[in-house]
Symmetry: C2
Subunit: 691 residues, 2 copies
């Protein structure tokens, strides 16, 4: 029986989200998000019934101001130690707090603070208290910090008498430290994700000015170290010392979320291996208290961005906790007054993310708890349909889709497809959580919408879905967005599917996608139609293109047609672009899901498919984490080797010869297509011949 700090469920995550969201600054100006920032309830009451054989001394630690009541009588003076009498008692601790999230840690002999406790925000609902992963009474939830470890630069270049350019060798994140400070005066730290940015005192996105005096740092020169209190994203730091102050050395504390590197990937192509490694590093840098979009900018939690981080995470860290924190933070509290992040698409991505989380983690409890929140979000959306039952951006909505040039006024087909999928998903939750009437209503609605989408947006001449419709007039432009999602969701019939593949997906005339963000879905859709080799080539050229430019993490946007420091500009600012953006890391997902070929077919890998595809590589090797352990895969042109954990696995592969295995029974299920059911906890060797 271990005591934990307990809180109102979800409130710690919302509190932490507020804290993290307010850490963004730009040239010393705080940049708060432009959405409502929900936080914890400020007045909550924890309680439980206890029945003691004999009286007990308990120790209580609280975040916030509080009182204690035993059977509705206050224990006056709020002692940190008090006695609970023998017999049956109702023990209650009321806590109020604004700056921190109300939390208690209680240690008795026969009972402790844990999920046996109830909590209410005095708002009618009584819920089970959330037991946080904080077991030390002296380290309350508000003291939470990510892990740090010291790192040293790879190079330091004296620029002039007062300025030095420090290079940490790769993109990183953390607290800059100055060592061997002598004298007193101001030191400027000018951060750069690129060398150019750090050198630009006038235009770098982040900098700090520090006033230092060696005498305030103690007597021992070796200990004259200053650690800056704000963590920053950088590869380069230009350190500028005012006359009168000097710094001997610079290092940093790298700050990170401790995660396990569970997913693995290696193959015969070193370029792909490097891309996979840098993707993993990019994802790790952006996987923190929450899935952030980028570490320099925005340092915020965006639903569409996170949706991809979730999926990459399932093929790398498989860290469910950061998924849950992110889902809670994005959804916030009721009432829903705007789309998530004010972006129409981003409400839908939240629902998609919840489904993905369910599929991969099998965390029924969390999804059941959040089903009502999916429902009320969808109700908010339903209230914004236009007369045709479609979505249009309303004033103060942002219809994002992607950074490419496009006209997103009016009815954008892409949004209708996401809405349709969201309806299907929530219908599925409704069915699973015994809400049959709701399930059926949502399903009917989604089917009707699906038909309406094809009726309204399908252009037989272009052979695909057009981008949108404004005041009844269809766009002439076909873009990939709606088409690739409709394709992935199986919303097209056979003829339409073939047409979209030929006329849209594989058609170079159609506007190119220039963000890794939408390339994610584009490449996933191409994999889905068997174009894995093409995708592997695309990964090599697109992500490889960033490597050629010296990228040590992947970028927010990459347009190969740009050159030089054009690559760093965005939003009209020379260094506005994020050079470490989570959505840049999608090869993790693509290689895990479509090359290693592993994906769950029942929540939490209760069942899964394993469909390795060499994609033009000589051999591939790796492992994919599941709740019950890792699925290890090796494949080359002649053998497939697997080690599988718990779960009903199905191997599917193509072979130009009759495959054979002494480990599994293989059956032919189509032309050159074979399947084998996998025995849990087994090793499997299959001999075959790839095409």
């Amino acid at each position: 029986m271990e005591a934990s700090w307990i809180v109102y469920p979800g409130d710690y995550e919302l509190w932490l989200h507020r804290e993290v969201s307010l850490r963004r600054d730009e040239r010393l100006s705080i940049v708060p998000p432009f959405w409502r920032l929900d936080t914890h309830y400020g007045n909550v009451k924890f309680y439980r019934w206890i029945d003691l054989e004999q009286e007990e001394q308990v120790n209580l630690y609280v975040e916030g101001r509080y009182n204690i009541a035993i059977n509705d009588r206050y224990v006056y003076g709020n002692p940190s130690k008090f006695t609970v009498p023998a017999g049956k008692s109702l023990l209650a601790v009321s806590v109020v707090a604004e700056v921190v999230c109300p939390a208690i840690f209680l240690q008795g002999q026969s009972f402790v603070s844990d999920s046996e406790w109830k909590v209410t925000a005095n708002n009618h609902r009584i819920v089970t208290a959330a037991s946080l992963n904080f077991q030390d009474p002296m380290r309350p939830p508000s003291s939470h910090k990510l892990a740090v470890e010291p790192i040293v630069p790879t190079a330091a270049t004296l620029l002039d008498k007062s300025s030095t350019l420090i290079d940490f060798g790769k993109e990183t994140f953390g607290y800059v430290r100055l060592h061997g400070i002598r004298g007193q005066g101001q030191i400027g730290l000018f951060y750069g994700e690129s060398r150019e940015e750090a050198l630009s005192v006038e235009a770098c996105e982040t900098y700090d000015l520090i006033q230092l005096d060696e005498t305030s740092l103690g007597d021992d020169p070796k200990l004259m170290t200053y650690t800056h209190p704000s963590s920053r994203a950088f590869r380069y730091v230009q350190v500028v010392c005012e006359e009168g102050i000097q710094v001997e050395d610079v290092s940093a504390l790298y700050e990170y979320l401790p995660v396990e590197y569970k997913g693995k990937f290696r193959c015969s192509d070193d370029r792909i291996n490097e891309i996979w490694n840098i993707s993993l590093y990019t994802l790790h840098l952006t996987t923190r208290e929450f899935f952030l979009d980028g570490i320099k900018r925005d340092r915020w939690v965006w639903s569409g961005d996170a949706c991809q981080s979730f999926l990459m995470n399932y093929y790398s860290f498989f860290d469910n906790a950061v998924c849950r924190r992110t889902l809670i933070a994005l959804r916030g509290k009721d009432p829903v007054e705007t789309h998530i992040n004010h972006i129409l698409d981003y409400s839908f991505y939240w629902i998609l993310s919840l489904q993905d989380y369910y599929d991969y983690s099998g965390d029924t409890e969390f999804v059941r708890d959040h089903y009502p929140k999916a429902l009320s979000l969808l109700e908010f959306c339903a209230g914004r349909e236009n007369d045709s039952g479609f979505f249009e951006g309303q004033p103060d909505d942002w219809v994002f889709v992607d950074w490419a040039e496009m006209n997103n006024r009016g009815e954008v087909c892409f949004e209708q497809v996401l809405y349709c999928r969201s309806l299907e998903i929530v219908a599925g939750f409704a069915e699973r959580f015994d809400d049959a009437k709701k399930a059926s209503a949502l399903l009917v609605k989604s089917r009707e919408l699906r038909e309406k989408i094809i009726q309204a947006f399908w252009d037989p001449d272009a052979g695909g879905l057009v981008h949108g419709r404004r005041e009844g007039v269809l766009d002439e432009k076909v873009t990939k967005y709606a088409n690739m999602f409709a394709l992935s969701y199986g919303y097209l019939n056979e003829t339409q599917t073939e047409s979209v593949i030929r006329n849209v997906m594989l058609n170079d005339e159609v506007q190119r996608i220039v963000t890794p963000y939408m390339r994610f879905y584009e490449l996933a859709a191409l994999c889905g139609i068997g174009e894995t080799s093409r995708v592997v080539e695309e990964i090599k050229s697109y992500w490889g293109g960033m490597l050629d430019l010296g990228a040590t993490s992947f970028w927010e946007t990459f347009d190969p047609s740009q050159s030089g420091s054009e690559h760093y500009a965005m939003y009209g600012r020379p260094f506005g672009k994020s050079l470490c953006h989570s959505w840049g890391a999608s090869p993790l997902y693509l290689l895990g899901k479509y090359v290693l070929g592993v994906r769950p077919t029942e929540p939490g890998y209760a069942a899964y498919i394993l469909e390795p595809s060499l994609g033009g590589l000589d051999w591939i090797e790796g492992s994919v984490p599941t709740p019950s352990g890792e699925i290890a895969v090796y494949a080359d042109a002649n053998v497939i080797k697997l080690t599988v954990p718990e779960g009903k696995g199905l191997l599917r592969f193509r072979s130009s010869i009759d495959p054979r295995s002494s480990d599994v029974a293989i059956s032919c299920v189509g032309e050159d297509v074979y399947e084998a059911e996998l025995v849990p906890h087994s090793n499997v060797l299959v001999h075959y011949r790839s095409f």
Copy 2:
């Protein structure tokens, strides 16, 4: 053009309500309210378009962390002085704050922070910023304090070597000050609304323990004064000095809301005059940042309690600001998850209070702004009707009605009457604010409910409405509550009205009401049926009964059958009862509305009735505030003298002779009943003969 601190509308009030609500403590244990405590939005953006002929320097003061943007470009470094360029610009200040309410004060040459600004909580809604009554940039809204003035005790009694009992002569509120402190050690302040309470170190409801050291108070013995930082309610303070520390003298800073004493009342009976004065003082003590219930306990804002304070206020201070603050604080933010204060009746009282505020103040803007909040509150209520369309207390609802003994499970008739009235009121708002469809739906519903109430609860044998119905079985008990409200609202036909008067209101067999709280409505109902003389007698005996016991402010409950310190006990605690409770001050309302006889008949006294009634007194004299000035009334058996301000006034009176006046035209409108239309801004003398 004067700059004010501006905020998101309502947020300052909610913030202040949180602060005030958390000031209650009981023997050093904080006692937070048991309802959800809403507060300000933590992330807001103030903005306005400006068009300047030439660039302007502006000074900015902010509560919270902030950034400035001109045309979506940050003014880096958050300077407190910056320049806005000539031409058209969008100026925006984003503010985040948790502990204080985000607020800005901006001073340019041609523009300032005022209600020309818009503000959003980044939640889709864009509203006009609320301009607070804070015009000093150095005194931001969070620094708000009520006024104080020094008061001295009327007596000090040495109890023993270390203890002194200080008597301030009457109930008061403020900060105790200790003068001429010598030595060091602990001083205990034990507060008492009664002498007994202050003497009871073990059981007094509030006390403070202070650790003092004369050396920390400066060198000059005269200046060795310590002012306790928490304000308290008391008449008596027992000061207990530990060995080693001494106090020469004790005083206090009386803390109060500066209000104007606009309403006046005097009559031929000094006992009534004293009751009126003590009522006024009681109301003033409880009229603070908000209308509080009591100053020792609960120091909270309760809707049912406040409903009466509102009405008393209209006959005394006519302070609209405290009304608005209280209405905002009570209603909180959406979503509505519980009844206001968790009490079924208290949701309805909020709607009643809003109507009263409208009637007396004529503040259409405020009421229009809050009409949607009345609507959503009523929608919450509608969602809780049972199958019969009636209300029953649900788990976690408190069905209060009154402190007397009664069974409030099941369908309590009183609650249905209040619900019916609430429907009528909101129907009226709907009509006034151009929501005709809603108005008609609510009106139909209220009429149906009214019929159902009579059908369900009218007991022909008892000749009144029974208290309630449980599982289809009617109460045998008739109580006054539902009957007196139904009577006041005109829900009874003539026969029923007569029966209720005879069998319920004037029937001593029916359970007596023992709180000033419900006596308020009882006596108002009696006045409404012409029983003013009886009411004046009741006031003399009931409130006079408290005076006989030494009351210097009126109490939460008063049962004349109790004796000695029984009067001080409540909630099983010897001094649990509040001896200064706003609902004790109802004579202010009764004497103003029914004896002076003044009440508005159109919002804001656009029209009003003046119906003086001597109620057995030889003469009465006083004035009632209205938005356009005071209505002064004098009446004795032979003359009525009036001075009236703006508004369509109607004088109505009974006379046993033909009345005459050279100031107004008098017409006879019934047997011995006369009316005269009053000319605005006139003096009127009428000769008549009272009955």
